[in-house]
């Protein structure tokens, strides 16, 4: 493998020093959103300079991007991202060796290219997984080139330095895993070995700037600080609710009751319309979508909680979050009332018989008590 730093490669590809500085600034901006690594470094080195230094000293890290049970929405979102410098950098210039949706090659050629990349960069590449992995019925529900998704991910992860699961499907199983989960869909996290470094970037789709930001951060500084669900804290440290622009209305108890009432026009809180913002960790409210133009809650739609595990089974999208996930079946309620009433009748009958015949009952009870002791 030729030893060439990222900066050298960029220069070879015709990127000027000025553009290079811009790229460094963009990366520093995205990956240093909240704290690490900027928090530590702000005292000594300017974050942009640190990114510059890393680009100038680190080698290019290739990315192999696999898609399983997905809609390619995360890839689509990425290609339509409005942060061209960073996305261009990550997608075209820097990293992608193999990507099923973006690849010009098809069929055996594409498979060969993947095998070649895995061999060439063994132990060094990053594996990005999009989509869930079906495990039911021997994994027949998703096969590529005649091989099951489980087989492919295990093969590709073996030589990977780290795995990045993008989107809710790869991170937590997503829609394919929704009840009744006919394909036995599972997340990358649950299929792969526990000791493999893995970063989850959930969302439906994942925010493109977060995906590229995390890839860039991994390339430059290694695995970022993660939470218990392996999400980068820099992007998933706060809930939508924490950073929501409608939060003051929540505090004031001003709720929109329908999509077309006075509250909706005034931009009140969407809690009553089923907003899942309070339990949803993502950067939508800060990074937003379409070049920071807007995000669902800003546009008047409640958060669906698409970056949370099992969001598809987390109660109705338009049902207030305080409501229980389901209500007991009428038959179950009737049965419970019936059993309760029957027990009541039974107890009453026993009471009455004890009342009528108190003498014979007393010694039996005493005997029972002795036995219990």
């Amino acid at each position: 493998m030729p030893i060439e730093t990222i900066a050298e490669e960029l220069r070879r590809k015709g990127i000027s020093r000025r553009e290079f500085m811009k790229i460094s600034g963009a990366i520093a901006g995205v990956i240093g959103l909240m704290d690490s690594p900027v928090r530590v470094l702000a005292k000594s080195i300017d974050p942009v300079e640190r990114v510059l230094k890393a680009l100038e000293t680190k080698q290019r890290v290739p990315v192999i991007w696999l898609e399983f049970q997905d809609c390619a929405g995360c890839s689509e979102a990425l290609t339509r991202s409005q942060a061209p410098t960073l996305v261009d950098l990550v997608l075209n210039t820097l990293t992608i060796e193999y990507h099923e949706t973006l690849s010009a090659a098809a069929g055996f050629q594409a498979e060969e290219a993947k095998q070649a990349a895995m061999k060439k960069y063994a132990g060094a590449y990053v594996l990005v997984v999009e989509g869930s992995i079906p495990t039911a019925d021997g994994g027949v529900y998703c096969t590529i080139g005649g091989r099951t998704a489980e087989d492919l991910i295990n093969e590709a992860s073996e030589g990977a330095a780290a795995v990045i699961a993008t989107g809710n499907c790869a991170s937590f199983g997503g829609i394919p895993k929704a009840s009744p989960n006919p394909t036995g869909a599972r997340s990358a996290m649950s299929v792969l070995a526990k000791d493999k470094p893995l970063i989850n970037i959930p969302g439906c789709p994942a925010i493109p700037e977060v995906t590229t930001g995390v890839i860039a951060q991994y390339i430059l500084f290694g695995v970022p600080e993660l939470d218990s669900l392996k999400r980068p804290i820099a992007f998933y440290g706060n809930t939508i609710h924490d950073r929501c622009l409608r939060r003051p209305f929540y505090e004031a108890g001003k709720y929109t009751a329908s999509f077309d009432d006075e509250g909706a026009r005034q931009g009140w809180c969407l809690y009553k319309l089923g907003c899942k913002g309070p339990t949803t960790y993502n950067a939508c409210a800060t990074i937003k979508w379409d070049a920071g133009l807007s995000f669902p809650v800003q546009s008047g739609h409640p958060c669906l909680g698409c970056s949370q595990p099992d969001f598809w089974d987390g109660g109705g999208f338009y049902q207030g979050q305080s409501a229980p996930l389901s209500r007991p079946a009428i038959a179950a309620v009737a049965a419970a009332a019936g059993i309760g009433a029957a027990a009541g009748i039974g107890a009453a009958l026993v009471n009455r018989s004890q009342k009528k015949h108190p003498a014979p009952q007393a010694p039996a009870q005493a005997g029972e008590e002795k036995e219990a002791k």
């Binding site: 419970a336 019936g338 027990a343 009748i345």
Partner: protein, 225 residues
């Protein structure tokens, strides 16, 4: 296992189970009371049973609590009148007129109703919590109440106190991440639902039961309940 899974469990299966136990338990209690037996009543009716029931409810729910000088309820025991009354009023407002709780009723019953603004509900919840603390202290120091208070009474207080405090914490996003606070709130609510039928908290239903019977009996005899 993370807080998300825990939350799904306490909002889903555990809540359903608790609700079913609650309904079954209350049915059991009601049947037990009904089957204690009715004394045959051969008195010829002088007045209206329905009128007696209505008067009974008016007195129990409106006149005595809100117009203290009618029965001198305040002067008889100011602490019980204020703290006990405030506590019950707080429960009523928070559980029925708070937006979050109305949404629970809506999901169970299929219809909703207008709710009070959050700040009002919020202050009522705080007042209810303060009232509960006052009542608990009263139980600790009152010489007669001390004799009457056993483990069941303390558990009753605890089982109601925990949902109220955790709900307040949840609304204000204090101390815990939201899903953790939500999980704790739902878990203690589920525990309360299971506890109610087997405790004296069941009076929330038997109160109406006994007022109806009393009112009808008094009404029939044209007496004032």
């Amino acid at each position: 296992m993370n807080w998300n899974n825990a939350l799904e469990f306490v909002r889903g299966p555990l809540f359903n189970a608790a609700l079913i136990i609650f309904i079954g338990g209350m049915a059991y209690r009601l049947v037990r009371v009904l089957l204690l037996g009715w004394r045959s009543d051969k008195v010829p009716g002088k007045g209206s049973k329905l009128g007696g029931v209505i008067l009974s409810y008016l007195k129990g729910l409106v006149i005595w609590p809100f117009i203290p000088w009618v029965q001198n309820t305040f002067m008889r025991n100011p602490l019980i009148y204020l703290a006990g009354g405030l506590f019950h009023l707080s429960l009523f407002i928070v559980l029925l007129l708070g937006t979050a709780h109305m949404l629970v009723w809506k999901s169970l019953l299929g219809f909703g109703w207008p709710t009070l603004p959050l700040p009002i509900v919020d202050w009522m919840a705080a007042a209810g919590i303060a009232a509960m603390i006052a009542l608990a202290i009263n139980r600790l120091i009152h010489p007669v109440l001390k004799l009457l208070t056993g483990a069941a009474e303390w558990l009753n207080l605890l089982f109601v106190f925990l949902p109220m405090v955790s709900g307040y914490i949840l609304t204000h996003h204090l101390f815990f991440p939201y899903e953790m606070g939500f999980t704790i709130h739902m878990a203690v609510v589920d525990a309360l639902l299971i506890w109610i039928p087997f405790s004296r908290i069941a009076h929330f239903m038997f109160y109406f039961f006994s007022r109806t019977i009393h009112g009808a009996q008094f009404g029939k005899r044209a007496a004032t309940p």
